[in-house]
Symmetry: C2
Subunit: 194 residues, 2 copies
Amino acid sequence: MTKGAETRQVILDEAAAQASQVGLGGLTIGALATRTRLSKSGLFAHFRSKEHLQLQVLAHARARFVDKVARPAVARPRGEPRVRELFERWLEWGSQPGGCLFVAAQFELDDQRGPVRDQFVADQLDWLDTIAQVFRTGIGEGHFRGDASPEQFASDLDGIVLGFHCHSRLLADPLAGDRARYAFERLLDAARPA
Amino acid sequence: MTKGAETRQVILDEAAAQASQVGLGGLTIGALATRTRLSKSGLFAHFRSKEHLQLQVLAHARARFVDKVARPAVARPRGEPRVRELFERWLEWGSQPGGCLFVAAQFELDDQRGPVRDQFVADQLDWLDTIAQVFRTGIGEGHFRGDASPEQFASDLDGIVLGFHCHSRLLADPLAGDRARYAFERLLDAARPA
């Protein structure tokens, strides 16, 4: 990595951490300059506008999510092992300090319009498609019923992980992980061939 | 209702609507004065501080939620009819313009400290307890298995409704309601006596 690319990673890591706490809308180039000890004018020159910064942060977080969750899942054998890896990695992702930027963004962006929302919606749809596709490999392998709906599974799993976020973070429920895993096992049970 | 109490309801309705769009943190007495065409000084005299306004809005929204969701559910026969009423009313509540204030608050308040968060956490725990209690009446009536966990059911149902919010609002998925209802039926099936 060049020095410039490294600096960029550091800035975007910091911005993503900040956004997961204060929301994408709460991101400011000024606060980012203070926290990275870089000049405000340098950051402005680089990111041009708040909207562009928000889009870069989303792209950066999405790339990290793919590295940490999607790619390791797909590296596992097709079918149930892949679904399990995806789920466990996703919970781990949501357990990082500050929580999950994407979860926060869902509730921040739902009443907004514009390119940041559009990009985020496209990313979310891609992620639901990825879950459905990973589940589909399990139908192919005979781990799951042929008439199980991959889209329903993706939707159900998303709900389980959203619940995990709320219960573990806001309510600080020590059982949040156990409850999410229990729900996940029931979801797999229901998908198995009779 | 006295004139004062009526005015108060109008203000709090407006504030709750505003908060469901911009978050409790985005509420300002100034914007509220503009939208209700009341004097800023009058509103300040009444609510004293932003924090007090946020607490009043939470209490107001909670009272409306009880009227619209919890009370009609508990008015139905014990057990499954009560659980079904609770679920359908809850989806309806989340379908109002601007979405659900509580869902937005979950992701807004999770990184904050203070009396607003504390009150909200207590409210959320009360609500999960109410769901568990409603489910428990179904065990008593023989609609659900004796070894089913009411707390797990509450957690699972919360996840389904959170997913519904995200998929219906941010993703504008026309199938969001169908998917939530499908997941709900599977959850009831899993709870039924063998």
